[in-house]
């Protein structure tokens, strides 16, 4: 077995049988990073020594017969907006370039408790604001399938790391598609859980009512396993749901009888890339072949979702990012005249253009005299969008949609057109506004060899259903087994 690029199931079996050890596994992935990350730039920081030490501890536990966690010895890449004690947590921002978190996010604690091996910190759009990972202050991550193309974003580093076989698992965060879209662009599996399914404690906030941490993996099983380890109630997050977490991995192989798949016909018209459309139509047929019923559903308010999202998310972001003021931690301008100037310069010098744009949008939309017109109106539309989902799910079990209008675009192609970039979030944003779970999985390739993803959405807390439906497709196809050829 080749370790780098193997699935989590294969890695766990190989370690359990003694064919290899956690240290060997960690070393193999570290070697892979060493060899290829120079051309991919998925990682901001590789935790070599810590990873090897954690792996050695897992091996010791195993040898001495101690109980092992769910993720024992599995390397995992962490998006660099998840606070990890003693490690840099930069959010790809100059603002937090030197910030070392003094505490662990709840998900990090759970990964440690599950004996995972934290292998490194992955690149993202600054403060998770973007869909290409080009908004990182530090580096541009490249799509492992074609390094001229973007990996998507904002969890582009995590998606690229998994796609390039530099980690079997990764954590991302998804505010408007930031797990699902890069997963689609990089040909891996990415799941945004129900809002509140995973604790946000320690996730550096972008838009609090939309943010959710989720798993990325090279197959559905990996995503199910990682979600199982991180999901569940947390007294440190008031918005985290206390409902028991099902054993996703144990029901994964059970197909759903009488499956009804909802399709929104308007998704498959103008604006959707022909090859993406064709791949999605094949996927729909695939499900029909497996006995699923295809149901047409209406999402009448979806046309407003981008506008709604780009009011609510910036409003919350403008507030959440106000704490980066140069006073308490993070970047402080070396020179300033007075207190106001200290704020203005520190923020002006350390935030990138996209972050500033969203802070200004949100500040404006929450201003006296404008809040009703923008923020409060957006909240009303959000309720209508949520109702669309409720109604749709009365008719179907899951909804199948594209992830993005096109496969991965070229690096720099959209950089000068933020509005076009915003509009490409049309398929993923709804799940965040409605708080429902969504999964992105490989559904084909373009003629130029770029992955094409598809999205499945389910009602709140139906991750188990979502994973089983995704696994049905995965078992019938081999898209997920393909690996990019990396140059050395």
């Amino acid at each position: 077995m080749t370790i780098a690029g193997a699935t989590t199931a294969d890695l766990m079996a190989a370690v359990a049988s003694g064919e290899t050890t956690a240290v060997e596994v960690a070393q193999a992935f570290l070697d892979r990073i060493e060899a290829h990350d120079g051309s991919i730039d998925a990682f901001l920081h590789v935790s070599k020594e810590n990873a090897l030490a954690q792996a050695a501890e897992v091996d010791t536990k195993r040898r001495s017969g101690q109980p092992l966690g769910k993720l024992a010895g599995l390397p995992i890449a962490i998006k660099d907006n998840l606070c990890t004690k003693g490690e840099p947590t930069t959010c790809s921002s100059r603002m937090l370039e030197k910030f070392v978190s003094p505490y662990d996010a709840t998900v990090i604690e759970r990964l440690r408790a599950a004996d995972a091996v934290l292998i490194g910190r992955t690149n993202l759009d600054e403060f998770a604001m973007g869909s290409s990972t080009e908004n990182s202050a530090f580096k541009t991550t490249r799509n492992p399938w074609n390094v001229a193309h973007a990996p998507g974003g904002s969890s582009g580093g995590s998606a690229a790391a998994v796609a390039a076989g530099m980690a079997p698992l990764a954590l991302g965060s998804d505010t408007g598609g930031s797990i699902r879209q890069p997963a689609g662009f990089c040909g891996v599996v990415g799941l945004k859980p129900t809002y509140g399914r995973v604790s946000r404690y320690g996730l550096v906030a972008f838009a609090s009512s939309l943010d959710q941490i989720g798993p990325m993996a090279n197959d559905v099983h990996g995503a199910a396993l990682l979600l199982e380890a991180i999901a569940g109630g947390d007294p440190l997050d008031s918005t985290c749901l206390p409902e028991a977490v099902p054993s996703y991995t144990s029901t994964l192989e059970e197909p759903i009888a009488g499956l009804r798949i909802g399709v929104v016909r308007s998704h498959y018209g103008e604006g959707l890339d022909a090859e993406v459309n064709a791949a999605l139509q094949r996927a729909i047929e695939q499900y029909e072949d497996m006995g699923a019923t295809i149901v047409d559903v209406e999402m009448p308010h979806q046309q407003y979702s981008v506008a709604t999202y780009y009011v609510i998310a910036p409003c919350e972001a403008s507030s959440n990012l106000a704490r980066y003021d140069g006073i308490h931690y993070g970047y402080r301008a070396p020179q300033f005249d007075d207190m106001i100037d200290l704020y203005a310069r520190s923020r002006g010098e350390a935030f990138g253009a996209e972050v500033k744009r969203r802070i200004m949008l949100g500040t404006f939309a929450l201003s006296a005299g404008y809040a009703d017109q923008y923020y409060n109106k957006a909240l009303k539309v959000r309720r209508l969008i949520r109702r669309d989902f409720d109604k749709a799910f009365e008719q179907c079990d899951v909804i199948l949609t594209p992830i993005a209008p096109t496969p991965a675009f070229k690096i720099g192609e959209m950089a000068d057109d933020p509005l076009a970039m915003y509009l490409s979030d049309i398929f993923t944003i709804g799940a965040n506004l409605a708080g429902v779970p969504g999964i992105s999985l490989p559904a084909g390739f373009s003629s130029s060899g770029l992955p094409i993803g598809m999205q499945l959405l389910a009602p709140a807390l139906q991750e188990e259903r979502l994973l089983r439906v995704a696994r049905m497709f995965e078992r019938a196809t081999d898209w997920h087994t393909r690996r990019p050829q990396l140059s050395t």
């Binding site: 606070c83 997050d237 919350e316 006073i327 809040a371």
Partner: protein
């Protein structure tokens, strides 16, 4: 020029909870170790999230109930956004349009003895900020120990009409909060802080009322300061009105600070320049809904509030409103002490005289709390019972009282009291035979003939020296009783 002073107060009260409003970080006044009472939430670290402290919420509901407020069944948390170094998240979690408590009142008694009902617009829960420290030098420092402390903001209607009323309102409010045990109300430590909104209604000769511009005086940290600031502002505003003629609306609301040392207010930033707080619901916190049953449970824990106890003491012991107020104002422990003394001696008025004069004087002089006072309430009650029964004079009881204060606390018992009475011969002779024997001796003494004749002749004041002489023959007697008997005997002779 005739005018009425219009005052409304905004009071911030820190709640006595074990932990902060939105985290498990310890909540304690601790200026000596800056930034030691912090955690990721208090520091506003990236990724930290607030979780509501249910106990703080419960205490705030108690405050609202005690202020006769409507308690909202549904409340939410809002972010009030502004930049200041003592505010680590650059927003304060507060309540904007749906306060926890609204439309209440607090009754106060003003100097004229009339009850004035002061409306409460709202009372809501919010987190306190930290503290900026300016210790000289070019740098300022920030101490976040206080950040996140639960704070109830109580906003009164502009119903107060004088500096004295403002002070009375604060005293009554502090007493109420002390009774509820929700705050230590320590103004030096900042657990009770006050902002004053004040203007005047000038009454013109032609019968018009002209309101002057409203001024807010911020961060007053003593009752005296509030009173002085109100007095100062009243004078300043009337002079200002005479000079400029400015009315409400002519100029923006002004914010002023208070210079305690100089006894003057001074202008701070104008409200018009103040930031737009961009309030919006905090997405990190769920709205809070409470049931009627839960509210009933909280209501049952309120206990007897000061106003009710004041009325009850007045009724039960025929106390004047003044005496009842003096006792109630001293807090629950003194009122408990008083009630025990009153019950034991059976005379509320006698008990009130002793508690409000002798006991309180000793407490003040010795800087003691009532819990530290060496004479237990039952011992004092039993002593006073002797006075009430006519067995001792007040003067005699006071002698015992003074003696008791010199003794170690464990010796202050009923038995000791008996001993002192015996030793000092303080018990009055009530045996009429004894008194008559003494009177016989005096009447028989030839040197008293003139005095006796004078009394017989209707010169009542001549009886004085005779009483004194009778008393000399007795170890202790009630002079009133001696006088009565003596007059009987002389008149009947």
């Amino acid at each position: 020029m005739k005018y009425t002073t219009i005052i409304g107060l905004e009071v911030h009260v820190q709640l006595l909870t074990r932990t902060k409003l939105f985290s498990g970080c310890v909540n304690r006044f601790n200026p000596d170790a800056p930034n030691s009472q912090t955690d990721p939430v208090t520091l506003g670290l990236p990724g930290s999230l607030p979780v509501m402290n249910a106990e703080a919420f419960r205490l705030a509901v108690k405050v609202g109930m005690a202020l006769n407020c409507e308690i909202a069944r549904f409340t939410k948390w809002d972010r009030k956004q502004y930049y200041y170094p003592d505010l680590p998240k650059a927003y304060q979690i507060s309540q904007y349009d749906l306060p926890l408590c609204s439309d209440g009142f607090l009754d106060i008694t003003n100097a004229e003895g009339e009850t004035r009902r002061i409306g409460i617009i709202r009372a809501h829960l919010e987190e306190d900020a930290g503290k900026n420290l300016h210790e000289g030098g070019s740098d300022s420092k920030v101490d976040l120990n206080r950040a996140g402390t639960p704070l109830v903001e109580i906003v009164s209607q502009p119903d107060l009409r004088s500096a004295a009323e403002a002070k009375q309102y604060l005293e009554e409010l502090k007493l109420l909060l002390t009774y509820l045990a929700v705050s230590d109300c320590n103004m030096q430590e900042g657990s009770l802080r006050c902002d004053v909104n004040i203007n005047l209604h000038v009454h013109t000769d032609d019968g018009h009322n002209i309101p002057t511009p409203i001024v807010e005086v911020k961060n007053l940290n003593s009752f005296r300061g509030v009173e002085m600031a109100c007095e100062y502002e009243t004078k300043r505003q009337i002079e200002d009105f005479q000079k400029t003629g400015q009315r409400l609306g002519d100029v923006p609301k002004q914010t002023r600070g208070w210079d305690l040392a100089r006894g003057v207010s001074y202008p701070l930033r104008s409200k018009e320049e103040a930031s737009d707080y961009r309030y919006f619901p905090d997405p990190d916190l769920a709205p809070v809904t409470v049931t009627g049953e839960w509210l009933d449970e909280v209501r049952e824990t309120l206990g007897e509030l000061p106003a009710a106890r004041r009325d009850r003491l007045g009724d039960a012991w025929q106390l004047s409103q003044y005496d009842a107020s003096v006792i109630i104002t001293q807090g629950q422990d003194v009122a408990d002490y008083y009630e025990t003394v009153a019950q034991t001696c059976g005379d509320g008025k006698q008990a009130a005289n002793w508690v409000t004069q002798d006991v309180l004087r000793e407490l003040n002089e010795r800087k003691l709390s009532i819990a530290q006072f060496p004479i237990p309430a039952t011992v004092l009650g039993n002593l006073l019972n002797r006075v009430v029964a006519g067995e001792m004079t007040v003067k005699g009881a006071r002698e015992v009282f003074t003696t008791l204060l010199e003794l170690p606390a464990d010796q202050v018992t009923d038995a000791t009291v008996e001993q002192i009475i015996t030793d000092k011969g303080l018990l009055l002779v009530t045996d009429t035979g004894e008194v008559d024997k003494a009177i016989d001796l005096v009447l028989a003494d030839p040197k008293h003939e003139k005095a006796i004749a004078d009394v017989r002749g209707g010169k009542q004041q001549a009886v004085g020296p005779l009483i004194g002489n009778v008393m000399k023959h007795l170890k202790g007697a009630d002079p009133k009783a001696v006088r009565t008997r003596l007059l009987e005997r002389i008149g009947g002779a």
